[in-house]
Every structure is written in structure tokens, then in C-alpha cells.
Point group: C2
Chain length 219, copies 2
Amino acid sequence: MQIDKQTLMDFPQRYRTQLINSLSGFKSANLIGSIDESGQTNLSIVSSVVHLGAHPPLVGLVMRPNTVPRHTFENIKNTGCYTINQVSQSFWQQAHQTSARYEKAQSEFAQVGLTAQFVDGIKAPFVLESRLKYSVKLREIIHLAVNNTEFVIGEIEHVLVEPEAVRADGFIDLQALETVTVSGLDSYHRTERLSRLSYAKPDLMPSEISLDGPTPSMK
Amino acid sequence: MQIDKQTLMDFPQRYRTQLINSLSGFKSANLIGSIDESGQTNLSIVSSVVHLGAHPPLVGLVMRPNTVPRHTFENIKNTGCYTINQVSQSFWQQAHQTSARYEKAQSEFAQVGLTAQFVDGIKAPFVLESRLKYSVKLREIIHLAVNNTEFVIGEIEHVLVEPEAVRADGFIDLQALETVTVSGLDSYHRTERLSRLSYAKPDLMPSEISLDGPTPSMK
């Protein structure tokens, strides 16, 4: 089935939204925790968190300030601090519910039944229920004029993770943490591992490696 | 387990790379198809494709021009055209192998055993084996000075998809297409659906909806 550009543009708006949202592939599911100057907390699910680099440790996310996460975006701009909390199987429906258009005075933590967790020295709240989470310091906001969105870049600072998920080579087993993934706007999935694969080299095909990484002879 | 900023910075480089790459959550797995002015094709796996918006239909991806996808980045800049091809279970190992450092004269299509597919009017090659793919017209390249990477923004033009995966409301069932997802640098996963959820409203918790979207009474 081929859908040409004109057909794509002629689809009804909701149909096109669903279809285009499916094209990028499986997405990350994360809750962004933030707080305003008066202490009002905010929580917002996003599927656009993307790894930018490990040296320095940077993460990006796309926000549409004119739609739901507007309070989150304001808080990030004003405080320069936020948390990213992976969504796992024990609270994926509550995480989805944070996308409802609550008033600013209503904290999504209370509205959806998740628990704000504070760590000394970090202003923004974590999600207690999340099994892998970290605080982020805002580095840069890039306005994407092409569709009036904001690309928010931050530096990873303080990581909270269940220790048994961290494997010998630093790999974190997200599947063991029951982290979920999203497709389209609203489809949530758990995962089944195929395998980890060895680092690709031109002269041989990749082989399966253990969860702890390559054995010394493969390095 | 808490890992503070200093501990994070003190980890050995490879360990930190693995750990930081796990933090963003599950990632999309896509092959970027491109071609140079002389007709030499190129194929490169990326895990950073991110949905930017549906109106207009835009997609972003992060590239590190100094590492493996450098030929792909050059081709995109020079031709303004590329394809994005979802990686599925029948060729995930071959897709991973495109990350090996082949010379420019070696097309990854031939090296890993995937098939270049050309469509009239579109310069860049698709991956025949991919079950959901589309051509993209370059709109903008934003240099991210913060870590010397490039954020490549393109407009989705021509979609090729197996028709039975497109559901009544435009949602595409990526799980039925056996699209895979990636965690960390090298862990591949298939998915098991939890559910699609209804559009979140402040006054009620989300409910499970069918693969074809909400029933008329729920809209």
C-alpha cells in the first residue's frame, strides 16, 4: 500500500495524527516531573525523550507548549531543573492519565495517584513508583520554527535505579524493570528480548552476547 | 541505588556509555536509506528517530557526523532526500550490522544482505524487507553545539505500509508488523501489547480501547 504525499495531506486531521504518530517506531514512555516557584508540582507523560550523548550525558525532548505539557514547559524554563521517570507496568494507565488537561492548581501526582519523591539538593520531584529515574539540568531550549515546538536539551545529573538491573558493563536491563514502550498516541507494550548483539565490525556478522556484555575474548 | 553526578562522571567511558544509553527508555529502530550523487547507496541504523508533529508531518533524528553514519549525513545534506525504514524481526541482526564501519565504496545493502528498493520519483533507496517505510524531504539541519551533533528535521512524503496493519482510525499496528525496539546500545526486543487507551480527560480514568480506536460513543 502506497500513500503519496497528496493522499497523506488529504486525510482527516485525526486520522492523519494517528497514522503519522505511528511512523517513527516504538517510543520511550517517560514522566517529566517539575515544580514551580511556589512549590506546585507537575507531571506530564512524554514519548519524545531521546538520547543525545553520553559525554557529557545529555537527553533531549520535544514539547508543544500550546498543548498539554505547557505547565511543565514553563516550570523547566523557570527553574532549570526537571526529572525524567521511566514508566513501568505497575502504573502505565496512571502515567497516560497525566495527559489530561488538568488546571495548573491540580497536581497530576494527586489527580492520577502517583507519589512525589524529593531528594536532597534536587528541586524537582521524582515519581516514587518509577524504577529508573534521574534529575536533569536544563542546558538549552531550541525553538523549532518549522512547527512551533521546543526541543529541550538537558544534562543528566543524579540517577536513581534498582541496582539489580545494572549489569556488569553498565547496561541497564529495562525489561527487568518492566519499563513500557509506546506506539502511536495511545498503545502501550511490554517487551520480550530477542538478544543483545556484539559490537558490529565489517568483517563478521554480529553474535548474541549475554546481558552482562561481551566476554573478554570478544572485546 | 543513587548515582550522583560525580560518580557518573568518574565511571570508565565504556561503562558510562552503556549506562547513559539506557536512560532514555526504549528506542525506535530504523534504517536510514540514502544515495550519493554518483548513485552509491548507503544504509545506517539509528535509534534516535523522533516524532515532531503531524501537521505538517515531520520527523527528527540525531546524528553524530564524526562516527558511523557520516556517509548517510553527507548524502542527506547533498541530496535533501532519505528514507526511514522500520526494522522488523526478520532482519534485526542485519540492521544492527549496518553500524559497522564500512568504507564509503561498500554499500551496506550488499554487505549485510538487504535489498535496495526504488520507487518512481524518489531518489533515495528503501529497504525492500521493511514492512513500514517512508521517504523524507530534508527541511532543516540544526547543529547542536552542546555536543557537536546534528538534529536533522525532515518532512514525511511517501509512505509504504502493509495495508492490513492500518486500523480504522489511522493507527498503525507496529506489533503486527513485528517492528522491533532497542534498549541501550545493542539490546533488541519484540513487544507484547498491554492495550490502547482512551484519550485522557480530567474527569475519568482511561479505559482500554480496541485496535481500531474508540467506539463512537467514546469519542
